[in-house]
C-alpha cells in the first residue's frame, strides 16, 4: 500500500495532472454557479477532451469538475436564491436568508468550509473502507432503496415552514409531476398527450430553474417599478465581508459536519440515490442541531454542503470497487476509465493500484484547490450583490431560457420552465413552500421505480417492505418523522400537566 501511495504521489504531482485538475475545478465551479448549467453539462463537454490525455489527468479533470461543481452549486444558491445544481436546493433555504441579512460572505465561507470538509471526509472513507462499504451497498435492493428514499421524502416535514399541510400538498404535487412521461417499469406513456417531447417527463432542471429563478425575477421587477429608482435598492447595497467560520463556529458545528458528511458518503455509495436526497437529510439534521434553521444560520448552509460533497467520494466507491456508477456524474466518469483501458471493478485495485492512489491524491489536491479558489473567489462572487438587481435579473432571465433548452436540446423544457416559474410565483404568493415540491420531483422517479421493481420480486406482495430489516427501519423512521409534529404538542402538554 505504501508503495502504491508513493507511486501514486509521483503520478498525481505531475504538472500536467495538476494543470488539468485546476482546469476541471474552475470549470465545475463556473458551470455549477450559473443557474441553468450544471456540472453534468461540463462533464459531458470534457469527455472528448479526455480522449487525448493520459489516464490520470483524464480522470482528474473530470473529478475536478465533479468536486468543483458540487461545491460551486452553493454560490448562486446563496447569492441569488437559485440553486446551481439540484444538490444545492437545500442550501438555498438558509443560504439565501443569510444573504438577505447581509451575511452572504459568511454563508459562502461556511459553504466552502463544509464542502471541503465533506469532500475530504468522503475521500478518507473511500481510501480506508471502500470494499467493506461496497458490500453494505450491495444489500440495498429496490425495497431498501424505496424505504430509504421515502425516509428522505419525509424531511418535507422540516422543510414546510409555517404550514405542514401546504408543504405536504406541494410535495404531493411534485410526486404527481413525476408520473408524466414513460412509466419506469413498463415503458408505457402517461400524460404525454401524444407529445413526443413529454415522453422524457417533467425534468428536474427546468422546473428547478423556473421555480427558483422566475419568482425572484418577477418580484425584483415589481419592486423596481414600485421604487421607481431602479438602481437604488437599499437592501442590495451591503458591505459584504468574505469570512470563513471562526474556530468557535467550527467547534460547535463539528459533529453536525461529521454527521452530514457521513450521510453524503453513505448515500453516495448506494447506487441510485445521491446528492439531492443526501443534502435534504443533512439539512434535517441541521434543524435538529439548531432550531433556528430556516432563518439564516450557518448550520443550514453547512450541513447540505458537507453532505453533497460527501457524495463525491461516496459515489466513487461502487464505481471503483464494483464498476457500477453511484450517480449520473460517475456514470459519465465510467466512460473516461473505459476509454483509457481501465475497467473499474473488483480488479482495478489489484491491477492498477498506483493509478487508484494517484486518483485518491488527486481528489485531495482538488479539494485544496477548491478551498483556495473559493477563498479568493468569494470576494469576487459577492460583488454580484453590488450590481443593480434589475439588470442582474435580466441576464438571469436569458440564462434560464438558454439553460433549460441546453439540457436536452428540447424546446419543451423551456415551456416547462416558464410554467414552473409561474406556478412557483403563485405558490410563493400564497405561502406554499417550493422546496418540498422540488424534493418530491427529484425523488419521485426513484420511489416509483423501486417500489414497482420490489413488487416484481415479491409477486405483488407488500410484505417485502417489512420483511427486509433495513427497509423496515427506514419506513419506521419515516413514520416517526411524519407523525412527530402531531404527537409533539400532545406530549408537551402532558409533560406540562405532569409538572403542574
Amino acid at each position: 500500500m505504501l508503495e502504491y501511495f508513493s507511486q501514486g504521489l509521483v503520478i498525481a504531482l505531475q504538472w500536467e495532472n495538476i494543470l488539468f485538475m485546476f482546469i476541471g475545478t474552475i470549470l465545475g465551479l463556473v458551470f455549477a454557479s450559473i443557474p441553468g448549467l450544471t456540472f453534468s453539462t461540463a462533464l459531458i463537454l470534457m469527455i472528448p477532451v479526455t480522449f487525448g490525455l493520459d489516464p490520470v489527468p483524464a480522470i482528474s479533470v473530470l473529478l475536478g469538475v465533479f468536486a468543483g461543481g458540487m461545491s460551486g452549486g452553493s454560490i448562486s444558491a446563496i447569492l441569488l436564491g437559485i440553486p446551481g445544481t439540484p444538490s444545492a436546493a437545500a442550501t438555498v433555504i438558509d443560504g439565501y436568508e443569510m444573504a438577505k441579512k447581509g451575511e452572504a460572505g459568511r454563508a459562502l465561507g461556511m459553504a466552502v468550509y463544509a464542502s471541503v470538509f465533506g469532500g475530504i471526509f468522503s475521500l478518507l472513507v473511500l481510501m480506508l473502507v471502500a470494499p467493506q462499504l461496497a458490500k453494505v451497498a450491495l444489500k440495498f435492493g429496490p425495497a431498501e432503496i424505496f424505504a430509504l428514499v421515502i425516509f428522505g421524502l419525509s424531511t418535507i416535514v422540516s422543510l414546510s415552514g409555517t404550514s405542514l399541510n401546504k408543504g405536504l400538498l406541494a410535495g404531493m404535487f411534485g410526486l404527481l409531476l413525476t408520473t408524466v412521461g414513460l412509466d419506469p417499469v413498463m415503458g408505457l406513456q402517461r400524460f404525454t398527450f401524444g407529445q413526443s417531447w413529454l415522453m422524457i417527463g417533467i425534468g428536474i432542471m427546468p422546473v428547478m430553474i423556473g421555480m427558483f429563478a422566475l419568482p425572484e425575477i418577477i418580484e425584483t421587477f415589481q419592486r423596481a417599478k414600485n421604487n421607481k429608482g431602479v438602481s437604488k435598492e437599499p437592501t442590495d447595497k451591503q458591505v459584504v465581508k468574505a469570512s470563513f467560520p471562526t474556530l468557535k463556529e467550527m467547534k460547535s458545528t463539528f459533529f453536525l459536519m461529521i454527521k452530514s458528511s457521513a450521510i453524503g458518503t453513505g448515500l453516495g455509495a448506494i447506487p441510485g440515490t445521491g446528492g439531492p436526497i443526501a443534502s435534504f437529510l443533512a439539512y434535517d439534521q441541521a434543524k435538529r442541531h439548531n432550531p433556528k434553521c430556516g432563518k439564516g444560520v450557518i448550520e443550514g448552509v453547512g450541513a447540505p454542503e458537507a453532505a453533497n460533497n460527501g457524495v463525491t467520494g461516496g459515489a466513487m466507491i461502487p464505481l471503483l470497487t464494483l464498476g457500477i456508477p453511484g450517480d449520473s456524474a460517475t456514470a459519465i466518469m465510467l466512460g473516461a476509465f473505459l476509454i483509457h483501458g481501465l475497467a473499474p471493478g473488483p480488479l482495478l485495485f489489484q491491477n492498477y493500484g498506483d493509478l487508484v492512489y494517484a486518483i485518491f491524491i488527486s481528489i485531495l489536491i482538488i479539494y485544496i484547490m477548491v478551498l483556495v479558489i473559493q477563498f479568493f473567489g468569494i470576494r469576487l462572487f459577492v460583488r454580484v450583490l453590488d450590481f443593480p438587481k434589475v439588470n442582474l435579473m435580466i441576464v438571469i432571465l436569458a440564462m434560464t431560457v438558454v439553460g433549460s433548452f441546453a439540457i436536452n436540446l428540447n424546446f419543451g423544457d423551456v415551456l416547462i420552465m416558464f410554467f414552473a416559474g409561474l406556478l412557483g410565483y403563485l405558490m410563493k404568493r400564497y405561502g406554499f413552500p417550493i422546496t418540498p415540491l422540488i424534493l418530491a420531483l427529484v425523488l419521485g422517479y426513484t420511489i416509483e421505480s423501486n417500489f414497482r421493481k420490489a413488487l416484481v420480486y415479491s409477486d405483488g406482495s407488500l410484505d417485502i417492505f417489512v420483511q427486509s430489516p433495513v427497509s423496515l427501519v427506514f419506513l419506521i423512521l419515516a413514520l416517526i418523522m411524519l407523525l412527530a409534529p402531531l404527537i409533539k404538542p400532545i406530549l408537551e402538554k402532558r409533560v406540562k400537566a405532569d409538572k403542574a
Binding site: 472528448p48 413526443s196 456508477p325 480488479l347 460583488r383
Partner: protein
Amino acid sequence: MKKSKFMIIVLTVLLAITMLAGCSSTPAEQPTEPTEPTETPFPEKSMDLTILFGAGGAADVIGRKLADGAAKELGEPIVANVRTGGGGAVGYQHVLGQKADGYNLVWNSTSICVTYHQGNMPADQDYSAFRGVAKITEEASAIAVKADAPWANLEEFVEYAKANPGKVTVANSGVGSFNHLTAAAIEDALGVEFKHIPLDSKESVTALLGGRVDAMVNMAFDAIPQVQAGEMRALGIVGTQRIDAMPDVPTMKEQGYDVDLLMWRGIAVPKDTPDEIVLKLQDAFLTSANSDEFKEFAKKYSLTVAPTTGAEFDAYMAEQDEMIAKLMDKIGLKKQ
C-alpha cells in the same frame, strides 16, 4: 461605477458561456432553394447525428468517435446531439421530423424495432421509415450466475430451471429491454420458464452480487469485469463467437442451444434521403468504422466492429424486426 463596469464584463462572459451551451444544436434550417437534387454537392454544411441514449454512456461515446472519423472523410463536421427519452422514441421522431437531405442522421440500434412494437412510435414509423447508411457494431450478451452458485455450467442450470419452472429469478435491463428479449429467447431455446426481474444493466449486477436474483442476462460488457474478478460465472454467451475477455465461456450455440440475438448499432437516415447522398455517407462511415483507431476504441467497450453496407443493413433490419416482434409478442409487450 468601476465596480458595475466590472460586473457587466463578468456577467457578459457568463452569459456568453451559457449561450454557447445552447448552441450545440444544429443551426436553423437553411432557406430551401429549388436546386436539382442530383447536382447538389454533399455535404455543404455540418451534419447532425442524433444519439438516443445518455450523454457519456457507451452509445454516446462510441457514436461520437465514429462520427469524428466519418466527418474527416466528408470534410464537414458531424455534430453529435444527445436526444434521449422514450427508449429512443424521442430521438427517432426528431430525425423523422427533419428533412430527408442527409444532414440528419441517427445512431440507431435494436431499439428502432423495440420502441415501435412497444407502441411508442406513430403507427407509420417503424424501422422502414428509415433507410440504413451502414451497420457498424454488434454486441454479444451473456447469462451469468454468482460465482458461488450451485450450478457449475449451463446444463446444471437448465436442469434446475426445468425442475422449478417460474422460480428461477433472472435480472434483465428493464421490461422490453434488449436483455429482456434475450432472456425470453433463452427461455425458448432452453425450454424453461424464468421469473423476469426488470432492473437496469447496472442494477442487475448489484442484484446478482447481492444475492437477490439467481442469474442475470446482460451485455457481456457488464459481466466481464465481474467474471474476471471471480465474482460471477458466465454460463453462456449469446453471440456468434466467444469473447476474448472471457475465452473459457462457450457460446449458447456451442452448447447446443439455438439463440441468436445480437445488439447492433448503425447509422440511419429518413427513408426519402436520395441514393447518392446515402452512398457518400455510407462510404465515409464504413471508412471510419474500419479504421484501426475506431476498432481499438470499440474493443474497450467489448463491441465487435462488423460493418455492412446500407442495403445489407436494410435487409438485416427487416429480418431483425420480424424476430423482435415475435419475442415481444411472447413476453406480452407487442402493441403494434
